[in-house]
Assembly symmetry: C2
Homo-oligomer: 124 residues x 2
């Protein structure tokens, strides 16, 4: 099934040599932080809708179903603190607040697009 | 700053027309489920280390620091139930159990790689 290599001590020890655990481990810290950040409940959805352009608070609410004002406000503050989203007060009547991805936030586009494509192919 | 378009009612209403909210919303369900699944605490890290090839339980533990046996076991069961990871009992002494990504799991590689690259560029 796995290619016909003989099972046993030799191939087992070879396979273990092929696994550079220290190299794998090095990358984990930053990546793990990224997963915790982007994978937080609602954060992924907020990033997805902001990729199309800046949105007002109420527009994000509309585009992300089941998200409460309180939670959206909390997530936006976290994303601002991480430098992923920028908050802008708009002139005009009525005065509004708009949220836009920063360069750091827009750099998440390949991740978001890849996950969306995966979801459509494998979860549909 | 944003290109010199005149501020006011017309450009504001045009911008709103450019926002196809119903289209944006359609995609949210599956994508949101994917974020919840992959973004769950430790799941992203487990997927990352399994992308390099199958691993025994103890090897995953070693490669994902701070992950307890209990939690790893729980995550593996969830990933198996989702069809993302396959569990295989190995012949030999000592008898072992190996975990491997399925096609559905391997299809997450672009997402994982993109997020890892983002983390290394923006969180380092």
């Amino acid at each position: 099934m796995a290619g016909g290599a003989p099972a046993g001590t030799v191939s087992e020890s070879m396979r273990h040599e092929e696994r550079p655990s220290s190299c794998r481990q090095e990358c984990c810290g930053l990546y793990h932080r990224a997963v915790e950040l982007v994978g937080k409940r609602w954060t992924g959805a907020i990033l997805l809708v902001l990729l199309e352009g800046p949105l007002r608070f109420s527009e994000v609410r509309q585009l992300v179903p089941d998200l409460s004002d309180r939670l959206l406000s909390e997530r936006m503050k976290e994303l601002e603190a991480e430098g992923i989203v920028e908050r802008r007060v708009l002139d005009g009547v009525p005065v509004g607040v708009e949220y836009e991805l920063t360069d750091k936030g827009r750099a998440l586009e390949p991740t978001v697009r890849a996950l969306k494509a995966w979801a459509q192919q494998w979860l549909a």
